[in-house]
């Protein structure tokens, strides 16, 4: 049997908030195959981000196991390329140095790291902005730079936490097409967290639906298309049917998407 890129088994997490026990994750099982693109959708506060933080080694869960490439990621950062919700570009680094951060942290000499980052600036639509400061870049560019930084972290597994959440709808659609092109060029295993159902179905091979807190996996929907999807696909019958299934699963979970939109940043997430 081939070891999956990501394997989560019986994952639980409980934390204390204002003297109360809050259960963020409840017996979550999830496998992501090598090269697969899985999207995790669910209302805010359902523990999506908590799950990513566990896999990134930043949070030690209260129970269960989380493996990346067959190695336990619990309390062990450095196995994945993690992209948090905010772009978190370092204001004191120019674009090129920001992109090369992951390589430098992994011990690649600065000159080589920056040469490798520079080579991908064109692919990420950032050509000519190597020497720009983050504050000089638009929201879409900042997000592409954060993604470039994530791609350059020497890991096959990408964890993306609502990477396009801060962008307007039009820019976001452009980023979807562009991300698919980049992935065709530079294949990776991707676990994407989002609460945009359309985004999940456009990008992923498989959509996993989580319930409101305590987060459980309630439904799995395979995207009914091969990769390299046209933007127009969102109106095709197959897409609409898949979307309906995901939305139904979200509804059964007890939360609605309208609620999800209200509270963008889950406490403790």
């Amino acid at each position: 049997m081939v070891t999956p890129a990501v394997r989560v088994e019986g994952l639980e997490h409980t934390f204390r908030q204002k003297g109360r026990e809050v259960r963020a994750l409840d017996r979550v099982d999830l496998e992501v195959g090598e090269g697969e693109f899985v999207a995790l959708v669910g209302p805010s506060g359902c523990g999506k981000s908590t799950l990513l933080r566990v896999l990134a080694g930043l949070l030690v869960p209260t129970g269960g196991s989380a493996e990346v490439g067959g190695v336990s990621a619990v309390g062990r950062p450095g196995l994945v390329a993690f992209m948090p919700q905010k772009d978190l570009l370092l204001p004191w680094r120019r674009a090129l140095a920001n992109a090369a951060l992951g390589l430098e942290v992994h011990g690649v000499p600065r000159k080589e790291a920056r040469a490798r980052a520079r080579a991908l600036f064109g692919v990420f639509g950032l050509e000519g902005f190597e020497q720009a400061w983050p504050v000089q870049m638009s929201g879409g560019m900042r997000q592409r730079l954060a993604l470039l930084r994530t791609f350059l972290v020497p890991s096959r597994v990408l964890l993306l936490d609502e990477p396009f959440g801060a962008l307007d709808a039009i820019t976001r659609r452009g980023m979807h097409a562009w991300l698919q092109a980049v992935l065709a060029l530079e294949p990776r295993t991707v676990l994407l967290v989002t609460h945009d159902v359309e985004e999940a179905l456009v990008l992923a091979d498989r959509v996993v639906v989580m319930s409101p807190r305590p987060g459980r996996l309630v439904e799995e929907v395979a995207a009914p298309f091969p990769r390299a999807r046209e933007p127009g696909i969102v109106t095709s019958p197959g897409f609409v049917a898949a979307k309906a299934r995901v939305l139904a699963a979200l509804g059964e979970g007890g939360g609605t998407l309208a609620e999800a939109g209200e509270e963008r940043r889950a406490p403790g997430a």
Partner: protein, 267 residues
């Protein structure tokens, strides 16, 4: 041509920024001169600006050496103070026990009046430059330590998490996140220290010295040359501004991202 236009723009911008202060200062000086002449105030009570200028002109041969001494003490003291401040900040920010033990003592140390401490320092270190450098350093380390520790402790936790998720160790978190994040705060502290450095050196000299603006002041006072006291006051102000500007330049070089103009600001 473009260079000339640029220079003209620079001058007009400077005039716009400092013009109002310069006009106010000029008015004060003129008013002062008029007051002294109209009421015929005695020069040992309040000398007119014209008389202060004469005092400067009369001692201009002596002044360069005094200025050199005072400036050297100020710069050296600022350097040692900043180094000590950074060292303390790293300890305070990094080790909670040190923070609890040291912080109250540091605050207490700042309540001891320097005029009380300065004579002791002269007893310990002699009449040379050392006690003055120590006074400046004792004055300067505090704002640097407090500001830098604050900057180090308030590094963005999510940025720290990002570097850790990449497998970064504590040293790398310090190098990539905490230190650059604390630099602007460090320079804020250093600016405050720089503003007080020349004054600190003069206080040290005032108690006992063989050279420096503080000595120049004591000599002027004992001979009731109030005009010369004012000469020293003006020089101290100018030197302080010079030191402050130097630190500002240093900050621009070391933290260029703090001075980046975004599109909306430039147009």
């Amino acid at each position: 041509m473009r260079v000339l236009q640029g220079a003209a723009r620079g001058v007009s911008r400077a005039a716009g920024a400092y013009g109002p202060s310069a006009v106010l200062l000029a008015l004060l000086v003129v008013g002062w001169e008029a007051w002294v002449r109209v009421f015929d105030t005695r020069p040992y009570i309040l000398p007119a600006p014209s008389r202060i200028w004469e005092g400067f002109w009369g001692t201009k041969g002596l002044l360069p050496e005094h200025i050199r001494t005072t400036l050297a003490e100020a710069v050296l003291g600022l350097g040692f103070g900043a180094a000590a401040g950074v060292a303390i900040a790293v300890l305070v920010a990094g080790i909670p026990l040190v923070r609890r033990v040291l912080m109250p003592l540091l605050v207490v140390s700042q309540t001891v009046p320097m005029v009380v401490l300065a004579p002791l320092l002269i007893v310990w270190f002699g009449f040379g430059m050392t006690p003055k450098v120590v006074v400046v350093a004792l004055w300067g380390f505090f704002p640097v330590a407090v500001a830098t520790a604050d900057g180090l402790m308030h590094a963005d936790r999510e940025m720290v998490g990002l570097v850790r998720s990449m497998g970064g160790n504590r040293l790398q978190v310090l190098r990539y996140i905490a230190v650059p994040a604390a630099l602007p705060a460090f320079f804020s502290g250093l600016k405050i220290a720089a503003a007080y450095a020349v004054g600190g050196a003069v206080v040290g000299e005032w108690i006992g010295a063989s050279s420096g603006l503080g000595l120049y002041i004591t000599r002027a006072q004992t001979s009731f040359r109030v005009d010369r006291v004012f000469v020293a006051v003006v020089l101290i102000a100018l030197l302080s501004m010079l030191l402050f500007a130097a630190v500002h330049m240093l900050a621009r070089l070391a933290t260029p991202w703090m001075y980046v103009k975004t599109e909306e600001e430039t147009t």
